[in-house]
Symmetry: C2
Subunit: 322 residues, 2 copies
């Protein structure tokens, strides 16, 4: 019987800014179990609101005081050890629920960062109220944006011999994918890099466009429920996702052209694995019906992802594929 | 009173593969008039079907025989001279109707071209039936893709001193934008480069994903109706579009990173022009709600475009902007 677990919401069940296979797990679960967690927003003391209308959660204040900060600003909740997971396996992460739990978030522009660092050489910081009941972010007077929440960071630990890795850069282990398709209902597949996988999540985004161009989304606290299943049968060596309706292939590279090429290659590979079509026809199908989007351009490795409607393959599926 | 015109569907009202301000207009219309035209698919004799189930239209056969081929494969219908248009103006192109008129189309992979030239060093050619009544492209047995037609090429003439330009490369004068958002109902704005603007269109696409990654969309014949209006009031110097619901900013560059940056800069500029928000807040809004998509990666200049929901600005519009 799958069990449901809760990761305690306190600083000693969090890591600030680093992925590292050497970090001790805070929870051990069986494959197929689910885990609920709450995450703090990516934050530093300099990004806190000074307006008392924005209440600072005591766990956030405590974490900013007591946790050692790694090279990035993301607070990860975890890691969670999934029994039986070994390098070579794939961790299937069913994102069952995603809920913002704070009534504010922030955005920032930082000098030398973002998509247009030379155009915006000064820093800007904006705090915005979140009306969870109405499903709206009040960005500015007269300017509301609909909530569409997801976790910017969902990852497993990197290989042990890589040592500590900044959470900013998304890599083969997932992490700061900042992909808005990873909302509730989506399944993310990450290749396991170390025993137990060491799953963690954080970096709640109340909303984000494809690109996350200014550097941040609406950064806020996020609660989530994830079902974690060890897949020994897939053999995939790169992140991949499925929404209710679409396959989502991913590319990550400092160069957006290379990220785009990788996302296309990955989608071709997944089509050919599932369907009785040639590589050439899979490439043509990507051209005809695959939507190549910019995931983000601000995380060191940029991201591109391709969306392909799953039902397109219904009539050409391989008999031996579930 | 605006007048409706029809451009004759015959080779002497077409140009094959070249944009050039020196080409004589085939039709003169007043600003605000509409023009109906039919366009041949981008084609060469080597891309014609040999299966007699695919009927070759006599005008296509004739055009392939009698027209001099420029450096690219697109047949443009036009050019159309719009009275009063001068460099510095913007040509507002309301895309009133788009209808495929052939019952087949093709896709091709060409060596050394496309997003993944090293992965696909051989040529492939696929012809597909179009069921216009059902709205489907029968790509392969068991694999249908929904028709979602648009003109890959919509352009004005380049500046006269640029001489002839290959239709493959989208530039400031528009042309081979290959942007699937340019479907019926969308308005495209192009900066006029020469007297009369010299509008033309072609390169019908029955469907295409964002990216057009293999090199082609479903290449087919397309009929369209366009209302062409000279705008002396806009002062825009780069292409821009509006769908019924979204602004669409565009970037074009050999480097997809630079194309993405340009699309972001253009959207910021258009937000600030329309709304009472600072440049910094416009940049943040792009990050929060602007979707950066890859238009195409196969046309010499690659394309990126950002989609932003127009209604987001309703509460912050400048009083002096219509």
């Amino acid at each position: 019987m799958p069990t449901h677990h809760e990761l305690p919401f306190r600083p000693d069940c969090m890591v600030w800014g680093t992925f590292d296979a050497a970090i001790s797990p805070k929870l051990r679960i069986a494959s197929g179990d689910s885990v609920a967690l709450k995450a703090l927003p990516a934050c530093t003391k300099t990004r806190l609101p000074t307006n008392p209308a924005f209440v600072i959660d005591p766990v956030l204040a405590e974490a900013l005081d007591v946790l050692p900060q790694g090279p990035s600003a993301h607070f990860l909740s975890g890691p969670v050890y999934v029994e039986g997971a070994e390098p070579g396996d794939v961790l299937q992460i069913d994102i069952l629920d995603v809920q913002p739990w704070m009534d504010w978030g922030y955005m920032t522009i930082q000098p030398l960062k973002g998509t247009l660092p030379d155009d915006f050489p000064t820093a800007s910081l904006l705090h915005a109220h979140i009306d969870r009941e109405a499903g709206l972010i009040h960005m500015l007077p007269g300017l509301d944006v609909a909530l569409d929440p997801f976790f910017g960071v969902i990852g497993v630990a990197p290989p042990p011999h890589w040592g500590p890795q900044p959470t900013m850069v998304p890599r083969v282990f997932g992490g700061n994918l900042d992909n808005k398709e990873l909302r509730a209902g989506t399944t993310l597949y990450l290749p396991v890099q170390t025993a137990g996988a060491l799953f963690s999540a954080g970096d709640g985004h109340g909303a984000q466009g494809d690109g996350e161009v200014c550097l941040t989304a609406l950064e806020t606290g996020m609660a989530g429920v994830f079902r974690l299943t060890v897949r020994k049968d897939l053999g995939w060596t790169w992140p991949f996702a499925e929404t209710a309706t679409h396959f989502v292939s991913m590319g990550l590279d400092e160069d957006l052209d290379d990220a785009a090429r990788q996302a296309v290659r990955e989608m071709i590979r997944h089509i050919v694995e599932r369907a009785e079509v040639s590589r050439e026809h899979a490439y043509m199908l990507c051209s005809l019906a695959g939507d190549l989007h910019v995931t983000q351009t601000v995380d060191g490795n940029k991201g591109a992802h391709m969306m392909l409607r799953k039902s397109l393959l219904d009539g050409v599926r391989r008999a031996d594929v579930a």
